[in-house]
């Protein structure tokens, strides 16, 4: 943007110069030849007399002639891709000038927390991204835009529902508990989630290692994402006002369907089963003739609109700058009944009060509405039901009611349209407001005071309504029901910092011998939250206009069914940082932060988080500088190392206190009168304390060939100790439900691995080309191993399989967090010989063959074994962009390799035994006539002889490579744009999730963690019919006036 502005100004300038040329009053005529470093002439280059409108262009031989005012005149020579050069005319009549190719900009300053630094001075491991890296991605939130862009940052969607959340992990999952990074936006710590408009983001810094994150101490253990929003950051060079309009609109659709049997195939399988059981057919021919043959996936999926419109006005002068924007985003979901809309408003300004005092403020708010369908338990979810529902019935019966499936499952359309009280489709209406004011005071040279106060206020209303209806069994509602959960809260923070920088030069002032920067600060944070819940049954009418709590009838039962205690969280922190550089060669960076949190009890509140980082700029050494090749071609060669300790306090409030109180799940009744009950709510743990992550990092940054090639490598070891997790305790303690399990400090998690990133940027131009062909390619690669090295509990089961009544994941020592465990299947018994040789009693040909892992000659729980990890062995990204004239084209790939997915949908589709619909794989089951098949004959997995569960048969390779984005854009030439009174006009199209290469059989291999299922231990990569990512095609325009 900045560059383009300059270009357009230059062109404008040139145009003016061209027309006024003839009238310039000339005193000295100068001529010359412009060449590149190798002596090749440069044509069409600008030659301008600085401070005037006087100028010319070089011809095809690089020759030029210009009449200038005086010998004091300075000429500037400029051509795209070369460093500008200014030459004073003096007494010369002939000026032969050569231009050096331009070093590519390595980016603006990087935010490191409470301050900024030059990229070359970074000591910690920090990734920096610019607006341009994410702006082409039509996404609702910044986390969605980050996938595949940064080494060490893994992003997977928890759900594809519009407005859904992402599972984002920096440098491996270090904690069994909440592992989301901290977001810091414009200096405000906003917690573990940021829902702001991604197009408003100017810059993102991702702080990965402890030497970088320790300045955020207690909240730095999972990495820190620092976001700077656009505008209002610094005074402008000259007064300006720009108006920009961004708009896009497109369509999203599914990129994959799962092959399930149609009604006739379904009937064929069921009838065949009946033949085996020597029973009457499940369906008679006349029934079959009347089948509706509904494709339920067609009924729940749809093509959906995605659109965004944004107006932004920026202004500024030498005294300050401001920016205001308003945006509207609307995304329909590819599953019917889901959508998300958001209005964003923002205002941001800064003003220079005096030479010493700057102040600024921002205010923003957003209003959003999300409609989601239930996604927890497979059988009750729209997508799960769409896979397993009976295909023989119509969507609606002859009376217009939702047709009742003949199998045990739900009518998927009924799930969406009618809703279900226990597994509701929830509408969430959100409102969030954030304001921020700051002031900096340069007290004396190098010494600056900054104070910042922020305030936020938010409110989140989750509502659902269920009409009276009956489909079958529990897919029914006898009284209309209205439920509302209103969460609201506010928060504020105050930060005061002093920074002092001091430089000591050598004798002739040519070298900075000692460069100090000191930061000292103090910060307090406070947040409060309350929740109200209401429920009413039997409304006067089901009309939309009557869906309010006042519309109760005499029979209505008003029920505050669950109380949620209000809670407060406060933190009190002190921090300090010393940055020191010796002769710009040796850099050391020390940080300490002391945090106190209300989440811990007396004597346990405070934690100290120290870190130290060192860097050596090898390229600044004389032996390096002395070598001509190295000097010319290596602009940076830095070796970095760091150690630090950071904290994590991502747990609920008051977990150290034992409390008792009324609990909705403990009511009883006497004589038909319901009475409340009170129970011990939390179990006291006075000893609860900070989780600490210690990490070591060693890395190198190498920039070569005028920054055309940039290479980064990091090796890290991160050990999280005293993980704060809820653990299951023996039932005799009396904990009622996993959500009431006590928090304890247990478990150590070790993540180690390496990150590589490589970027190559260049341009290609020949004499005959009017424009340079610019391109860049970059790749990143991250390998991480995750291991629970210590855990007090032998097991921490998670990933509940409702049907199997078992946990399929387990967190235990020696394995990655939430690894899959179960029986290993080794194909299907093909004959009695194999059965008789096996350890399986009761088996028959056509049954799964289970591996007798311990070789004791029988299959028992002792044969349950490790079946894989949900965490990728490595992740990678590949991005390529190119541009010629006004055209730009970009590709962005994201890859994940070596993780496993537990595919719960496959259990149902490959069998189940409740008559669920089948995968087409079941058309090829093993039988005496169809040997060789790997589909077992018997479909019952749990009871009797097949009570061996979970099975590896449902665990699949989750690797994928996804072409996340293709962008193709065209920017109108400036002269045409100028005629339209535009500074800039770009039209573009983006294809999101264009291609996915995977062997995974479910809807989508991108599966994070499940937020809605009641779990005890953690779970990742369990597919309960996960809402898939959409493929979208979007057309958009960026206009700037």
């Amino acid at each position: 943007m900045k560059q383009l502005n300059k270009q357009s100004k230059r062109l404008l300038f040139f145009a003016i110069a061209f027309f006024t040329f003839g009238y310039a009053s000339a005193q000295i005529e100068v001529s010359g030849k412009l060449t590149d470093a190798k002596g090749k002439p440069i044509d069409f280059a600008d030659v301008v007399e600085v401070g005037t409108n006087n100028g010319t262009l070089t011809d095809s031989d690089g020759a030029w002639t210009l009449t200038v005012k005086s010998t004091e005149s300075v000429l500037e020579f400029a051509f795209m891709g070369y460093e500008k050069k200014q030459v004073k005319v003096g007494n010369q009549k002939v000026l032969n000038v050569s231009l050096q190719t331009e070093a590519i900009d390595v980016g603006p300053v990087t935010f490191i927390g409470y301050a900024a630094a030059r990229p070359e001075d970074l000591v910690g491991s920090i990734v920096q991204l610019q607006n341009k890296d994410i702006v082409n991605r039509p996404v609702l939130a910044v986390d969605q835009a980050l996938s595949g862009l940064a080494a060490g940052v893994q992003v997977r969607a928890n759900t594809g529902t519009p407005g859904g959340k992402m599972d984002i992990v920096v440098r491996g999952r270090g904690t069994i508990g909440d592992a989301r990074p901290l977001y810091v936006v414009d200096g405000v710590q906003i917690g573990n989630e940021y829902r702001g408009d991604p197009s408003n983001i100017d810059q993102i810094s991702i702080l990965k290692d402890a030497s970088a994150t320790a300045i955020f101490g207690a909240r730095g253990a999972n990495g820190v994402i620092i976001i700077t929003t656009k505008g209002g950051q610094a005074p402008a060079e000259e007064a300006f006002t720009t108006v920009s309009v961004d708009a896009y609109r497109g369509v999203q659709s599914t990129w994959k369907r799962i092959d399930v049997t149609d009604a006739y195939e379904y009937a064929e399988i069921l009838n065949h089963n009946q033949v085996l059981a020597k029973k009457d057919s499940a369906f008679t021919q006349s029934q079959i003739n009347n089948f509706s043959n509904t494709n339920w996936q067609d009924q729940v999926f749809r093509d959906a609109v995605i659109e965004k419109y944004k107006l932004q006005i920026d202004g500024g002068s030498t005294g300050g700058s401001w920016s205001t924007s308003v945006g509207y985003t609307n995304q329909e979901g590819i599953v019917r009944g889901t959508d998300y809309t958001r209005y964003d408003y923002g205002f941001k300004m800064m003003h220079k009060l005096t030479d010493k005092i700057d102040f600024g403020a921002s205010l923003g708010f957003n209003v959003s509405t999300q409609n989601a369908v239930y996604e927890g338990n497979l059988e009750q979810s729209a997508l799960g039901a769409a896979l397993i529902a009976d295909p023989t019935i119509p969507v609606y019966d002859s009376t217009g009611n939702w047709a009742a499936p003949t199998n045990s499952y739900y009518n998927p359309v009924g799930v969406i349209e009618a809703n279900n009280a226990n597994t509701p489709n929830i509408t969430t209406k959100g409102f969030g407001l954030g304001g921020n004011a700051w002031l900096t005071y340069k007290i004396f040279k190098g010494f600056e005071y900054r104070t910042q106060y922020n305030y936020g206020n938010w409110n989140n209303v989750e509502e659902f309504f269920v009409p009276v209806y009956f489909i079958k069994g529990s897919q029914a509602q006898s009284n209309s029901l209205l439920s509302r959960r209103n969460q609201f809260g506010d928060n504020w923070g105050l930060t005061n910092t002093f920074t002092y920088s001091y430089k000591i030069y050598n004798a002739d002032s040519s070298v900075i011998n000692h460069d100090f920067r000191i930061l000292a600060g103090h910060e307090v944070l406070y947040a409060r939250q309350e929740t109200d819940r209401y429920k009413i049954e039997d409304l006067l009418s089901e009309e939309e206009s009557m869906r309010y709590f006042i519309a109760g009838t005499n029979n209505s039962e008003v029920n505050v069914n669950t109380w949620e205690a209000p809670n407060e969280h406060s933190m009190l922190s002190y921090m300090g940082r010393l940055e020191y550089a010796f002769q710009d060669k040796y850099l050391i960076n020390g940080t300490i932060r002391r945090d106190g949190s209300s989440r811990f009890g007396a004597g346990r509140k405070f934690g100290y988080f120290p870190a130290v980082g060192v860097a050596w700029k090898v390229n600044k050494e004389s032996f390096f500088y002395g070598n001509e090749w190295l000097k010319t071609n290596v602009s940076m060669f830095k070796i970095r190392g760091g150690w630090g300790k950071v904290g994590n306090e991502n747990i609920g409030n008051y977990q150290f206190v034992g409390t008792s109180g009324i609990d909705a799940n403990s009511s009883y009744s006497f004589g038909k009168n319901v009475v409340s009950g009170a129970v011990p709510l939390t179990i006291a743990n006075e000893d609860l304390h900070w989780e600490e992550a210690t990490s070591w990092n060693i890395g190198t940054d190498i920039n070569m060939f005028k920054n055309k090639v940039m290479f980064n490598f990091d090796y890290f070891i991160k050990k999280n100790m005293d993980n704060l997790i809820r653990i299951a305790v023996p039932a005799i303690v009396g904990v009622d439900g996993a959500d009431k399990n006590p928090y304890v400090n247990t478990a150590e998690i070790l993540n180690k691995g390496y990150e590589l990133s490589l970027t190559y940027r260049n341009q290609y131009a020949t004499e005959t080309m009017k424009h340079a062909f610019k391109y860049d390619v970059s790749a990143n690669f991250t390998q991480i191993t995750n291991e629970v090295v210590y855990q007090a509990e032998s097991e921490l089961p998670g990933g509940f399989d409702q049907r199997g009544n078992v946990y399929v994941a387990n967190t235990k020592e020696g394995y990655p967090i939430a690894s899959f465990f179960g029986y290993q299947v080794d194909g299907v018994f093909q004959n009695w010989g194999q059965v008789n040789q096996s350890a399986q009693t009761n088996a028959a040909p056509g049954d799964y063959k289970i591996v007798d892992v311990n070789g004791d000659g029988r299959i028992s729980t002792a044969d349950i074994t490790y079946l894989g990890s949900p965490h990728p062995k490595f992740t990678y990204g590949f991005n390529a962009n190119c541009g010629y004239a006004g055209f730009d084209l970009g590709f962005s790939f994201q890859g994940v390799h070596g993780n496993k997915i537990y595919n719960m949908t496959k259990w149902y589709l490959d069998g189940g035994d409740f008559g669920s619909n089948f995968s087409t794989r079941r058309l090829d089951v093993w039988s005496a006539d169809n040997t060789g098949s790997d589909q077992p004959t018997d479909q019952t997995w749990f009871t009797g002889k097949n009570s061996l569960y979970p099975l590896s048969a449902f665990i699949e390779d989750g690797s994928y490579l996804r072409l996340k984005n293709i962008t193709f854009g065209y920017t109108l030439p400036d002269e045409i744009a100028a005629k339209m009174r535009l500074n800039r006009c770009r039209v573009y199209t983006v294809i999101q999730n264009a291609l996915t290469f995977t062997k995974y059989s479910g809807f989508d291999p991108e599966i994070g963690t499940n937020e809605t299922t009641n779990w005890e231990g953690p779970e990742f990569g369990i597919d309960r019919g996960a809402y898939p990512q959409a493929r979208s095609i979007v057309f958009g325009v960026n206009l700037e006036f």
């Binding site: 059981a277 029973k279 045990s408 005071y441 005071y449 104070t451 079958k472 529990s474 029914a476 009284n479 103090h522 406070y526 049954e537 039962e557 109380w563 205690a565 209000p566 809670n567 407060e568 969280h569 406060s570 009190l572 209300s598 008051y654 206190v657 034992g658 409390t659 008792s660 109180g661 799940n665 403990s666 009511s667 009883y668 009744s669 004589g671 009475v675 009950g677 009170a678 129970v679 011990p680 179990i683 006291a684 023996p730 039932a731 005799i732 303690v733 009396g734 009622d736 509990e793 032998s794 009544n805 078992v806 729980t861 409740f914 008559g915 019952t940 749990f942 009871t943 009797g944 009570s947």
Partner: protein, 552 residues
């Protein structure tokens, strides 16, 4: 410089909060330290101790599976078709065919729910130990503590009957200590005999202690709370069980008889005039004088923890009816047809015993709306079911109003008057000193049954007459008492536990080799009739002291 100092000082004074800023105490809930000081809070706490008894896996379904379907009275039932039969409540299938393993979900839930009840009781009892007679609300505190102690005893009674030796906690325990708790007493044998005895001793000690703390009756609003009658009846039952298991080592038979007799002699309680009215399907007799202790339900929004409804009615209501084409048809959203009586039970009755009115058989008609509009509808038998349904836990079709079938407010009796009479009869007979009383009690029960002969006039309209069956016994044997217990209390959650304590399980249950659907029933004497300790709990007791029962 002054200005600078000024800013420095001001900012740090203004913004340096003290540590108080990070001292936040919970809002809206009280810390344990003070909560139980208020009698109102204690009442809420005690209400919550009752609560787990009403959870789905406990009396609604669990005790039906463990007491009846495991026995020779009934089997599982259910199943849309023969293929699906086994996995329709597969966890129950495993329990009742004795193919259960330690990861059974029902057994895990029952363990959890029972100990949640016990922990709630312990928290209340521990915290109110300090309250003495000087407290203004002492009598209420005492009553509430009495209720809590009864309930804790009841949870232990069920735990020890189901699992045998289980951890015995007489007060609350911290997580760090809990992992080292086991289920064997010092010097115990492999079967945990001493632990079992310690549990019975604790139950008896507690119930003896509260005899005068709780009243004989309550007002209507508090109907269902623990009464002196309940305390004495459960005490009598605990004595009887202990005497059977430990060979009457402490003269428990007589103690059981005497405790039961106190209940039987109290004017507030007695036999309901007509047998069928105990189980009134219109829910109009929910506080019969027959009931000594019932789990209370109120028609609600859920059968689970948050709700007060009872799912048992739909579980036991018939599932298969003869449709218009004359074929068996299952009705979704009506009955699930579980806990189905076995032919053996039917055969045990004299023909025309009115107590069999509570069993519907193939071809009998039920007035219901299974096929849409209310009508007389014939019961069907399918291959994988016995064709019998026990209506004791069921309700009339109007109660299934609005298809909200899973949340019926029908109470479940734990102990009723006839049970106490039979306890008195059995204990008195076994003691030897009260054989005449035993004969009288049994005959009283048979008389009531005889007088319950019912003639149907129209739906919901009956007249009663006095029949001749069952006739009075002229003399009595222990087998008569055992048989009467079966006939009177079938499908009410007693039979399996009775067979085990009588030592009759090997002979009677061992003789059953298949269920009606043809699946093997594998009674294993080595288990001593105990269910497996949940594997998840064995894993969580990392001290290794929670050991699995023999035979698993």
């Amino acid at each position: 410089m002054k200005k600078i100092l000024g800013i420095l000082v001001t900012s740090f004074v203004l913004f340096s909060c003290t540590e108080d800023f990070i001292n936040k105490q919970p809002l809206g809930v009280e810390t344990n330290v003070i909560f139980y000081d208020k009698v109102e809070n204690c009442e809420l706490a005690v209400n919550a101790i009752y609560d787990p008894l009403g959870w789905e896996s406990m009396y609604q379904v669990g005790m039906m599976a463990l007491g009846d379907m495991t026995s020779d009275d009934a089997e599982k039932g259910g199943g849309d078709n023969v293929l699906q039969y086994k996995s329709d409540q597969g966890a129950i299938f495993d329990i009742v065919t004795f193919t259960v393993n330690p990861i059974n979900g029902y057994l895990a839930n029952i363990w959890d729910a029972s100990y949640i009840g016990i922990a709630r009781a312990n928290a209340m009892i521990d915290a109110t130990n300090k309250i003495d007679a000087t407290n203004d609300d002492y009598s209420t505190f005492k009553r509430l503590r009495g209720e809590a102690r009864f309930l804790r005893a009841l949870y232990y009674f069920d735990l020890v009957r189901i699992y045998g030796p289980v951890p015995l906690l007489k007060q609350a325990i911290a997580p760090a200590d809990a992992i080292d708790v086991g289920n064997r007493a010092d010097g115990d044998d492999a079967q945990g005999t001493k632990q079992v005895k310690a549990i019975y001793d604790f139950i008896i000690e507690e119930l003896e202690a509260i005899q005068n703390d709780v009243p004989w009756t309550y007002n209507a609003d508090n109907y269902g709370r623990v009464t002196a009658a309940a305390a004495k009846a459960l005490l009598a039952k605990a004595y009887l069980y202990k005497a059977d298991i430990f060979s009457n080592s402490d003269n428990e038979y007589e103690k059981a008889y005497l405790a039961a007799k106190e209940v039987l002699d109290n004017a507030s309680y007695g036999l309901e005039a007509k047998y069928q009215d105990i189980f009134d399907l219109n829910l109009e007799n929910e506080s019969s004088k027959e009931f000594i202790f019932t789990i209370q339900f109120t028609s609600g929004s859920s059968t689970l923890r948050g709700g007060e409804g009872n799912i048992r009615p739909i579980y036991v209501t018939p599932r298969f009816f003869i449709n218009a084409q004359g074929k068996p048809e299952k009705k979704d959203g009506y009955g699930y047809g579980f806990n189905i009586p076995r032919q053996d039970l039917i055969d045990a009755f004299d023909a025309n015993d009115p107590r069999l009115d509570m069993v519907l058989a193939e071809g009998d008609s039920l007035y219901c709306n299974a096929f849409g509009s209310p009508q007389w509808t014939k019961i069907a038998k399918v291959d994988w079911n016995t064709g019998y349904y026990c209506m004791k836990g069921s309700v009339n079709y109007e109660q299934f109003a609005g298809f909200n079938t899973q949340v019926i407010g029908k109470n479940i009796p734990v102990i009723r008057y006839a049970d106490v009479m039979l306890i008195a009869a059995e204990a008195g007979f076994k003691d030897g000193g009260y054989k005449a009383e035993a004969l009288k009690y049994v005959n009283d029960i048979r008389k009531r049954a005889r007088e319950s002969k019912r003639v149907l006039n129209a739906y919901n309209d009956y007249t009663y007459s006095v029949g001749t069956v069952p006739a009075d016994l002229s003399a009595i044997t222990l087998d008569d008492i055992k048989k009467e217990r079966r006939l009177e209390l079938y499908c009410e959650g007693h039979r399996f536990f009775d067979l085990v304590r009588w030592g009759d399980a090997d002979a009677i249950l061992g003789a059953i080799t298949k269920d009606v659907a043809g699946y093997p029933v594998l009674w294993n004497p080595a288990t001593l009739g105990r269910m497996p300790i949940p594997q998840a709990q064995i894993n969580l007791h990392t001290g290794g002291k929670l050991v699995q029962n023999p035979g698993y």
